[in-house]
């Protein structure tokens, strides 16, 4: 069953197109990932879906009902966790959660009970009475997620939930997302971490420059690289000196240079490693390691969008 349907959704800002006619749907109970570089239109799409931004054209439906013109009714069923924690600095964790529950019309007893339950589940019990401004970045993010689900929404929008926080907290947050999913919450997740999307999402859409360029399950998307073979060589010297020579010897192979003398060789046919190893050794480049790589979603993303992962993550100064 489709919980959210976006049809030909467009957004223009002062004559500039931020989102250009995107179409997608989210099924009830799934984690749907929206993957793209900074400025691709991920947050703009979330803002249109949640009513924080007006839709230039197109429709959005919640459980089959168009809410483009009556977003308030739909907002009651949504939980929204923005890319930056936006709770009240002067309130403590407990007060923030209770206040957020009140915004959704929850009775005092119910919101206090839920706040206690969430603080326990999210491991924030000890910080419950500390002001929000005293929380670490990871704790702030956890409390912001808790605030997004206090009213038990049917769909949770998570905008870059692990961006800018340390590895341990990012891991905890990913586990929380999996727990929420296991409890039946539908999740719309935007991220620019491909491995995070691959690990968490059942279906994904790649968005680049306001357009969805691919959509499907992880398995469907992986078919893009079916038949492709990759081997990474760690060499004892600089490959660039023999680059031209290599290309003339092995014209069928595609070469990508990595860091620390790692060369990634892509081929549509199965590799025979011995001629490659012999080629390097004859040119005084010892082979320290040869590793066959299973194509990942990262290869699919790079192939489809032409955007290098490193470049995408550097845009936000990530971990």
């Amino acid at each position: 069953m489709k919980i959210i349907e976006a049809e030909d959704l467009k957004k223009n800002y002062n004559g500039l197109t931020a989102v250009e006619g995107v179409n997608f749907h989210i099924k009830q109970g799934e984690i749907f990932g929206f993957l793209g570089p900074n400025g691709a239109g991920k947050t703009t799409t979330i803002n249109m879906l949640t009513g924080l931004s007006k839709i230039t054209s197109g429709t959005v439906k919640l459980l089959g009902e168009d809410y483009s013109r009556n977003v308030k009714k739909a907002q009651a069923m949504m939980g929204i966790v923005p890319d930056e924690s936006n709770l009240y600095e002067e309130l403590d964790g407990w007060e923030n959660l209770c206040f957020c529950g009140a915004l959704y019309g929850m009775d005092k007893n119910l919101r206090e009970e839920r706040a206690s339950q969430l603080l326990h589940e999210f491991g924030l019990e000890e910080a419950a009475r500390k002001p929000f401004k005293a929380y670490s970045k990871g704790m702030k993010r956890k409390l912001t997620i808790a605030a997004g689900i206090i009213h038990q929404p049917q769909i949770l929008f998570l905008d870059e939930p692990t961006t800018g926080i340390d590895v341990a907290f990012a891991r905890q947050i990913r586990n929380l997302i999996v727990d929420l999913h296991n409890k039946g919450t539908t999740i719309f997740l935007t991220t620019h971490y491909i491995e995070e999307a691959e690990r968490l999402c059942e279906r994904l859409a790649f968005i680049v420059q306001g357009k969805i360029v691919r959509e499907g399950t992880v398995e469907e998307l992986m078919q893009e690289t079916q038949g492709e073979n990759i081997v990474n060589f760690t060499l004892g010297g600089d490959f660039s000196e023999i680059d031209e020579d290599f290309r003339s010897y092995f014209p069928a192979y595609d070469i990508k240079m990595g860091r620390d003398n790692v060369v990634s060789i892509h081929s549509q046919s199965t590799f025979t490693l011995l001629p490659l190893v012999r080629f390097f050794e004859e040119r005084d480049l010892p082979v320290y390691e040869a590793k066959i790589i299973r194509p990942s979603l990262e290869e699919v993303f790079v192939k489809v969008t032409g955007i290098e992962l490193q470049k995408m993550q550097n845009q936000r100064g990530d971990r």
């Binding site: 803002n47 009513g51 009240y88």
Partner: protein, 244 residues
């Protein structure tokens, strides 16, 4: 959905977080006292506290409400916590009413501080209290909505302060608070009559000293009209500027 729960909690949070903080309470006390003392000290002839009272009441409300609301909303927008309110399933009108109710209440409380001080210094017999209360409430509403109008016109906290003063300081001299409208140059009178505070102060003058110039029903009507216009224009601007 029980929207009144959201309304009440926004109001309570704002009162606790902003309006009932010691610096604001002291602002509410110091400002009227300072103005009253200034007239006592500067005036070559004895000053009747009762004559000053309408102006000081209006001033306390104006300064207590406009900048507080403008600053708090601009601050919440900067920290993005205001987005949380925009994403809540309550109508924009109700949301803005809950955000402004705290400032209105604060303004009404501020108005009674000079009245309490005055009660120690002069007799308050013969004052038409229902009329005072009505005008205090309407001045608080129009001043708050003026703060809302300022909040939706600026993006930085310091701009909110500057823009508030741009409106408030001319109003001190143009609305008959301390300089009677009859003493103003004729060319300034049209400006006085398009400022809502003129009507509020005039009602207070009638209620306290029976020396107002404008008919009381007309003043009430004007204040109500200013309130509706300022609120409607602010909502229009919120829709246009904040929900892009």
């Amino acid at each position: 959905m029980k929207t009144w729960i959201a309304f009440a909690n926004i109001l309570i949070k704002d009162m606790r977080s902003y309006y009932l903080k010691p610096p604001n309470i002291s602002w509410g006390l110091i400002f009227p006292v300072a103005w009253t003392l200034m007239f006592f000290l500067r005036s070559p002839v004895p000053v009747d506290v009762r004559d000053l009272l309408p102006g000081v009441i209006a001033l306390s409300i104006l300064f207590g409400t406009t900048s507080m609301l403008a600053v708090t909303i601009t601050f919440e927008r900067k920290s993005r916590s205001f987005e949380r309110l925009l994403l809540a399933p309550i109508s924009l009108n109700l949301l803005m009413l809950s955000k402004t109710s705290g400032a209105i209440l604060f303004g009404v409380i501020n108005a009674f501080i000079p009245i309490i001080f005055a009660s120690f210094m002069t007799g308050l017999s013969g004052i038409r209290w229902p009329m005072v209360l009505g005008s205090v409430i309407l001045i608080a509403i129009t001043s708050t909505f003026m703060g809302l109008f300022i909040a939706v016109s600026v993006s930085q906290v310091f701009e909110a302060q500057t823009f508030s003063n741009f409106f408030r300081f001319p109003m001190l001299f143009l609305c008959g608070l301390f300089i009677p409208l009859t003493d103003l140059p004729v060319f300034l009178l049209p400006v006085s009559y398009v400022l809502p505070l003129t009507y509020g102060v005039d009602i207070l003058k009638t209620a306290i000293n029976d020396n107002g110039l404008i008919s009381v029903p007309l003043s009430f009507l004007s204040l109500a009209a200013f309130s509706v216009l300022l609120f409607a224009y602010s909502i229009y601007n919120v829709n246009r500027k904040w929900i892009h």
